[in-house]
């Protein structure tokens, strides 16, 4: 005997993936990269502490409705910064989806999230809004299995310039009609079953390789449909432009007679879920003077529905980033996900910052010959 405690008989309610929950050995390597732990220095608000809470729920020691359980499942940004640094390979993002399936189910769903989950399912309305706002026009029903652009649910009407820019970068790209929402929003806010079904439907509406301008959607679609079915814009452009003479001639984007100073804000799920970090930087360098934002890899606080549900916390998360942006005196901040775009446009405007936020596609389109 080494003096281990008596084995305790534990129940398993089956709310979580048992192997994932068991994989965490509580080493704490995730603490220093967690934005909410950085703000609080409080174990409850760390990935390790949250997994301890999940385990207590799974074993019935804590009720699902425990206030701390509910609060911490909501306070988490879901940025998955804890995943790449986890030596044990815990898939925290998957655990968080399972957690919110419990804490945000049915009447427990925050009303804003419930409304959005419902709203983005109205495919004809999305199409109409996209048309009114001037997003790229669809090209009819999917013709086959080539590369097909996904317009996105929110992005289509919130940032219609993004898809228009893609059609300039990739003339002739197919944009199938009848596409709805990919379900990432649902998976991250308590409806993972719905999220999976929507991703499957998207896979049917776009039966080829799905090209997306949203890092968060890319990671979700990869989860459901597999890596080979999904390409995020930056990785796709780097690949196709690498071959023979496919790359267009780019002229540097100028501001006040000099090359623009441009930084990138990573998409958390693109970076932490899919490991895509080099490609967007590679592309910016071709069009401007690239400056690395020190916190580029840290969440901006947009985080799906987070900035809508918890505006004060989202503001606390983004504040140090806004200071960095001011310090670097950037012309443009480039994003690769619509939620980041919304969060940064809004918060920079509030600060009266001179830095403009652009999607990567929009910056590259500025560099195209007229």
């Amino acid at each position: 005997m080494t003096g281990l405690p008596e084995p305790a008989a534990e129940v398993s309610l089956g709310l979580f993936d048992h192997d994932q929950l068991a994989a965490c050995i509580s080493c704490g390597f995730c603490l220093p990269v967690c934005p909410t732990y950085a703000l609080t220095r409080d174990e409850r608000s760390s990935p390790r502490g949250r997994i301890t809470l999940m385990r207590a729920v799974e074993s019935g020691r804590l009720p699902v409705d425990d206030p701390t359980v509910r609060e911490q499942s909501s306070y988490c940004l879901g940025c998955r910064a804890c995943e790449p640094v986890c030596p044990a390979g815990v898939e925290y993002g998957a655990l968080l989806e399972q957690w919110r399936d419990v804490t945000w189910s049915g009447a427990r769903t925050p009303p804003v999230a419930a409304g959005l989950r419902l709203g983005v399912r109205m495919t004809p309305a999305l199409a109409a809004a996209g048309k009114v706002r001037g997003a790229a026009r669809t090209t009819g029903r999917a013709s086959g299995k080539g590369v097909q652009l996904m317009l996105g649910c929110v992005e289509r009407s919130l940032f219609p310039g993004v898809s228009r820019a893609v059609t300039r970068l990739l003339p002739g790209i197919e944009i199938p009609s009848g596409q709805g929402c990919c379900g990432a929003l649902h998976a991250h806010s308590g409806g993972s079953g719905e999220g999976h079904r929507l991703a499957k439907s998207m896979g049917e509406a776009l039966p080829g390789t799905i090209l997306t301008t949203a890092g968060g959607c890319a990671a979700h679609l990869v989860n459901v449909l597999g890596r080979e079915r999904v390409r995020e814009l930056s990785e796709y452009l780097v690949d196709v432009w690498a071959s023979d003479d496919a790359a267009p001639e780019l002229a540097p984007v100028m501001v006040g007679g000099r090359r623009a100073r441009v930084a990138l804000q990573d998409s958390c799920h693109l970076r932490n879920g899919l490991g895509v970090t080099a490609q967007p930087r590679d592309l910016i360098v071709r069009a401007a003077d690239y400056v690395e934002l020190p916190s580029a890899g840290t969440c901006c606080g947009g985080a799906g529905t987070y900035a809508l549900l918890r505006p004060r916390d989202a503001a606390a998360v983004v504040a140090p980033k806004l200071d960095e942006i001011a310090e670097l005196d950037l012309d443009y901040l480039v994003v690769v996900n619509p939620v980041c775009q919304r969060q940064l446009v809004t918060t920079l405007r509030r600060r009266k910052s001179r830095t403009k936020v652009l999607h990567l596609a929009e910056l590259l389109a500025l560099a195209l010959p007229p």
């Binding site: 005997m1 080494t2 281990l4 704490g28 390597f29 603490l31 502490g49 809470l53 206030p67 701390t68």
Partner: protein
């Protein structure tokens, strides 16, 4: 039995009211959900519910909490980053878990005096960064440095990857501000390397595992940052061969900064996470590194590479640059968590033997693992004779767990037979308490109890562990 969790009797309302008056309402946690994350540290299997979690931010608050605890006989367990591997911060007797992670000020970093003064909740990596920013080195380098706090490092005398050349935490602690369990605030040592006024309480408190006092400020010595550093990897057929190379390296007059080894199972687990291109077919890997002036480092690495070759290394690679060297060391630091990829339950130990006996110890561990039919992966600080045999199994497999316990029993016994110790750097905590008598003898245990009583007459600080 020290490990059965106390029933959650709860603290009297008057005590809770007083705690809230001291630190504020939001800094006293009592609900089941709020205290759950503080019921364990990084030690598997150990868990106990505290009655309350208190998060102070000043020394005065810590002092008031401890005075209250002594007056009311309430157990108090201090906690830093929660990366302890011996269940030293698990509140087995309930009471208060006193969390110091909110005391995070780096009060001073002085190039003139080569020292830093920090609050206990500063992480080891943050201290090292603050020192590096003005060209100084904080040498202690525990594997969990991004998580662990300086207060916790001092309380456990944390070791790490640079022990051979630079020593461990105790070699750098110049002075402490400590709150005694009875509430008095004392300052031991100070800013001087030379200071023999009185008993060396700084050293006594360093490694006292939160049983004698609560550390609220630490003054550490620093060194000038070496000009450069580099690391190489040598592959061997077995861990014992690597151990013999280590003995040869040091016998040859080189005292390098780093000599770490990993066996085949660890190489595989680390490679799965870090993708460094390590040779998975090798029986063992020796990481050898040094720092100093450019030429000195190059010569030192050459000499170590030669010694490895002479002792059967089947391949040697040097890191291309400092970044490559950092990648190798980072990979080594994650060995333990990476091992959980083999099976979800990882029980690791921390036996340490005199360096020349390391090959013998490694052979014994392999023999013991075979005899008890357990999967045991071993890594460790070869240069310090400090080994981390890690047994992995499925948490639900109670037979495997019993075999693991029996194997560790034999491993501890063998380490003591070789003039070694039961723990080199992780501490005794709750997990190794029953072995302490065999290591120290009854007279020393009795003296430790008397020391404990002198500091902590009411027996409130981390009760049931060291000195109880």
């Amino acid at each position: 039995m020290t490990t059965s969790p106390a029933p959650a009797a709860g603290l009297a309302p008057a005590i809770l009211a007083e705690l809230r008056a001291i630190v504020g309402d939001t800094r006293v946690l009592t609900s089941d959900g709020d205290v759950e994350p503080f019921s364990r540290d990084a030690t598997p299997l150990f868990r106990a519910r505290p009655d309350a979690v208190v998060l102070p931010s000043t020394t005065a608050q810590v002092s008031a909490v401890l005075a209250l605890a002594t007056r009311t006989g309430t157990p108090v367990v201090p906690r830093g980053g929660g990366s302890n591997l011996a269940a030293a911060t698990v509140p087995e007797r309930g009471g208060i878990v006193l969390v110091l992670t909110r005391m995070t000020a780096v009060k001073e970093v002085s190039a003139d005096e080569l020292l830093a003064v920090v609050e206990p909740g500063v992480t080891t990596a943050e201290l090292a960064c603050a020192a590096a920013a003005i060209g100084l080195l904080y040498p202690p380098d525990p594997g969990s440095k991004t998580v662990s706090t300086v207060g916790g490092n001092v309380a456990t005398c944390a070791g790490g990857l640079r022990g051979l050349k630079y020593g461990v935490t105790r070699n750098y602690v110049l002075g402490l501000e400590v709150v005694l369990p009875t509430g008095e605030v004392i300052r031991t040592g100070g800013r001087l390397w030379k200071d023999v006024a009185g008993y060396d309480l700084t050293r006594l408190l360093t490694g006292s595992e939160g049983t004698l006092g609560v550390i609220t400020e630490v003054t550490v010595g620093l060194l000038p940052m070496p000009e450069t550093s580099n690391t190489g990897v040598a592959y061997f057929d077995s861990l014992a061969d690597a151990g013999r190379a280590v003995t040869a390296i040091i016998a040859g007059g080189t005292l390098p900064a780093t000599l770490e080894f990993l066996d085949r199972a660890c190489i595989g687990a680390v490679e799965d996470f870090a993708h460094l291109g390590l040779d998975r077919d090798a029986g063992a890997l020796l990481l050898f590194g040094d720092d100093g002036a450019l030429r000195t480092v190059a010569e030192s690495l050459d000499r170590m590479a030669e010694a490895c070759t002479a002792h059967g290394a089947r391949g040697i690679e040097l890191a291309r640059d400092v970044a490559g060297s950092e990648h190798l060391l980072a990979a080594r630091r994650c060995s333990l968590p990476a091992l959980s990829r083999l099976a979800p339950m990882t029980l690791l130990e921390d036996v340490t033997v005199p360096r020349p006996r390391i090959a013998e110890m490694v052979d014994s561990i392999e023999e013991i693992a075979r005899r008890h039919d357990v999967v045991c992966a071993t890594f460790g600080h070869a240069g310090d004779g400090n080994l981390h045999p890690t047994i992995v199994f499925d948490a639900g497999d109670l037979e495997a767990r019993a075999r693991a316990e029996a194997a560790f029993d034999d491993i501890f016994g063998r380490a003591l037979d070789l003039d070694g110790t039961i723990t080199g750097e992780h501490g005794v905590g709750a997990a190794k308490l029953r072995w302490l008598g065999r290591r120290l003898g009854e007279d020393q245990l009795a003296l430790m109890r008397r020391i404990k009583t002198a500091f902590d007459p009411a027996g409130i600080l981390n009760p049931g562990k060291l000195g109880s």
